[in-house]
């Protein structure tokens, strides 16, 4: 399998008034061709910052990539490009954004510009990257809307975002992201803001499009259900670090890290046989303030199984092929 993107020891720091926050602290992972990688973790674990680092869209006054590399391997077998080394404003970076790597955001209600029709917003990246004229691009926009399952695309293409529902808007966002046939799609909690029935539709749509377009997806979510439905492999992040990495089946069958276990235990189960107790087991405490300096295992203060050795930070241990965990219990 060839990689599409390979991230090595990425460190992205955020400067705040109270000091430097290591939002992403030595994260390494790769995404294969046609693979859907799930990235899970509570809010504030560095998932979104990792995504924004790959896009080079960090708010430049506060956050920057300190070290590490993000290698993007282009389709035609050309030499890989280290995104981390590119200037965020350079032409090279701009030609990657939208064309090679696209991103879908969490809030479909605010991700579309209210003063333009959805058609005008879809053709924007087509005009930018594909050298089409306006008429061709508009025709392509109608096709794209049809492709993402919007009825009456010829009419809808002329509507403004406020005339559409949340689910429709997210479909439009997906159409924009797919407009230039990207190789790699980053979806930052694409269904969190939608209601449950629409969530399933959008996930189905994304799965279908991923297969049709041979895309790789990095799916950021804190919903293990989404992971089970969509992903091939999972990366569990906690406080800027990868704590577990495994195939999706492994994660559900034999989760190793106490944090992963906690995330899985906090999902309500419908099957009464599976339901051991009536109550859900939440993970104790909250994600600590990332600006606090933690020594040793970062999850130890909340971990039910912490012991002496957790004073020291565990390395990422490969338990089986493709299943890594950062925990002393599995040394």
């Amino acid at each position: 399998m060839t990689h599409v993107i390979q991230v090595d020891d990425l460190r992205t720091y955020i400067k705040t008034e109270r000091g430097v926050v290591k939002a992403v602290d030595g994260v390494s992972f790769s995404v294969d061709e046609k693979e859907v990688l799930g990235v899970v973790g509570e809010s504030g674990c560095g998932k979104s910052i990792t995504a924004l680092s790959i896009m080079q869209l960090l708010p430049d006054r506060f956050a920057s990539i300190e070290s590490g590399s993000i290698n993007y391997i282009p389709r035609d077998g050309n030499a890989s490009i280290d995104i981390a080394r590119l200037n965020p404003k350079s032409r090279e970076m701009r030609s990657i954004r939208g064309k090679e790597i696209s991103m879908i955001f969490q809030e479909p209600m605010t991700s579309l510009n209210p003063v333009y029709t959805v058609g005008e917003q879809i053709i924007e990246s087509l005009l930018l990257h594909e050298k089409m004229n306006k008429k061709e691009a508009m025709m392509r926009a109608v096709e794209l809307l049809k492709h993402v399952g919007i009825p009456d695309p010829e009419l809808r293409v002329r509507e403004y975002p406020h005339q559409m529902s949340g689910g429709m808007r997210q479909r439009v966002m997906i159409a924009i992201a797919l407009s230039c046939n990207p190789r790699f799609l980053i979806a930052d909690e694409p269904t969190t803001a939608l209601d449950v029935t629409i969530q399933a539709q959008i996930l189905d749509l994304m799965k279908r499009l991923q297969q049709e377009h041979d895309m790789s997806i990095m799916m950021i979510t804190h919903n293990m259900g989404v992971v089970g439905l969509m992903c091939d492999r999972v990366l569990v992040m906690y406080l800027g670090r990868v704590v577990e990495e495994a195939k999706v089946r492994e994660i559900f069958k034999s989760p190793l890290h106490p944090y992963t276990l906690g995330l899985l235990n906090s999902i309500p189960k419908l099957n009464p046989k599976e339901r051991k107790k009536d109550r859900l087991i939440p993970i104790a405490g909250n994600v600590p303030d990332p600006s606090e300096i933690v020594t040793g295992c970062r999850f130890a203060p909340r971990c039910p199984r912490a012991f002496d050795k957790c004073q020291e930070e565990p390395p990422l241990i490969e338990v089986e092929t493709g299943h890594k965990v950062r925990c002393w219990l599995h040394e």
Partner: protein, 288 residues
């Protein structure tokens, strides 16, 4: 499209009608009041040198003011002056304000700090006195008045644009546009400005009226247009001595004040009404 929506509201329709009336007067000024000297159409013709105003007669439908300047002629050609002053001052200061405000708002940091302190410096001058000083240095004339007004009008727009850009640039659709690979200046022009421009347009159309009032005020103070130039403010300043009429008839010289005053009031009112309606019409969320 925009016009159709403006028409639907009776109040904005009234504003529009008055405004169109003024535009027609400005366009057909040479027909309505043929200039005596085609070389200098803006100079109001005089019919004698007596200082006492003369009441309306068929040849001078609005009468003649102090120095026997024809009031009707002054009103008609003064319309052109009013449009010229209003559009120029607001247009130029708007352009400066938008450029300064968008750079300060979008790039933030040091740019913002420096540009906003410059704005503060300009804002700390008392406008009227500064305008008088500038026109005293540069000399009397409408162009100098306009220059002085641009100098002290752009800051409001800069502040307004900056404020709304600060709010807009945090919106997720800006990030989404960046994620599509759109260039910085295109983001400002295509995504940030169109969303932050409504308050500016509303402010601008209302300001056209107030600019004309201020220009009239400066003319009234004697630092505006040269003597005899068709300018509403100057017409009022001619009537200054005749406000009270004679001991027997307090309103003996009413025409010296009422006609130019009415012109100014209607002009400002029209712009305010239209400006108010702009706000509703231009917002895409109000459409459909």
């Amino acid at each position: 499209m925009v016009l159709k929506k403006l028409m639907r509201n009776p109040i904005s329709l009234l504003g529009l009608i008055i405004l169109i009336g003024f535009v027609l007067v400005a366009i057909f000024a040479p027909k309505l009041a043929p200039p005596r000297d085609p070389e200098q159409p803006y100079m109001i013709p005089r019919y004698g040198y007596s200082s006492t105003p003369k009441p309306p007669v068929p040849e001078h439908p609005f009468g003649t003011t102090e120095g026997q300047y024809d009031i009707f002629y002054g009103i008609v050609w003064g319309t052109r002056t009013a449009f010229w002053v209003g559009l120029f001052v607001v247009g130029v200061s708007c352009a400066i304000g938008i450029i300064v405000g968008s750079i300060a708002g979008y790039y933030g940091g040091k740019f913002d700090e420096i540009l906003m302190r410059i704005v503060d410096v300009f804002m700390s001058f008392p406008f009227l006195i500064a305008a008088v000083v500038i026109t005293t240095i540069l000399g009397r004339g409408l162009d100098k008045v306009m220059l002085a007004m641009v100098c002290f009008y752009w800051m409001g727009y800069a502040r307004l644009v900056r404020g709304s850009i600060l709010a807009i640039k945090e919106e997720e659709y800006i990030l989404a546009a960046k994620a599509c690979g759109v260039k910085d200046w295109q983001i400002i022009m295509k995504h940030v400005l169109p969303n932050s421009i409504f308050p500016v347009l509303v402010q601008a159309s209302m300001n056209i009226g107030s600019v004309v009032i201020t220009a009239s005020g400066l003319s009234f103070l004697g630092v505006g247009a040269p003597q005899g130039y068709a300018d509403w403010g100057q017409m009022i300043s001619f009537g200054r001595n005749w406000l009270l009429g004679t001991p027997e008839n307090a309103f003996a010289y009413w025409y010296t004040i009422v006609y130019p005053g009415l012109a100014i009031v209607l002009f400002v009112l029209a712009w305010n009404l239209v400006g108010d309606a702009f706000r509703d019409v231009l917002d895409p969320k109000m459409q459909s």
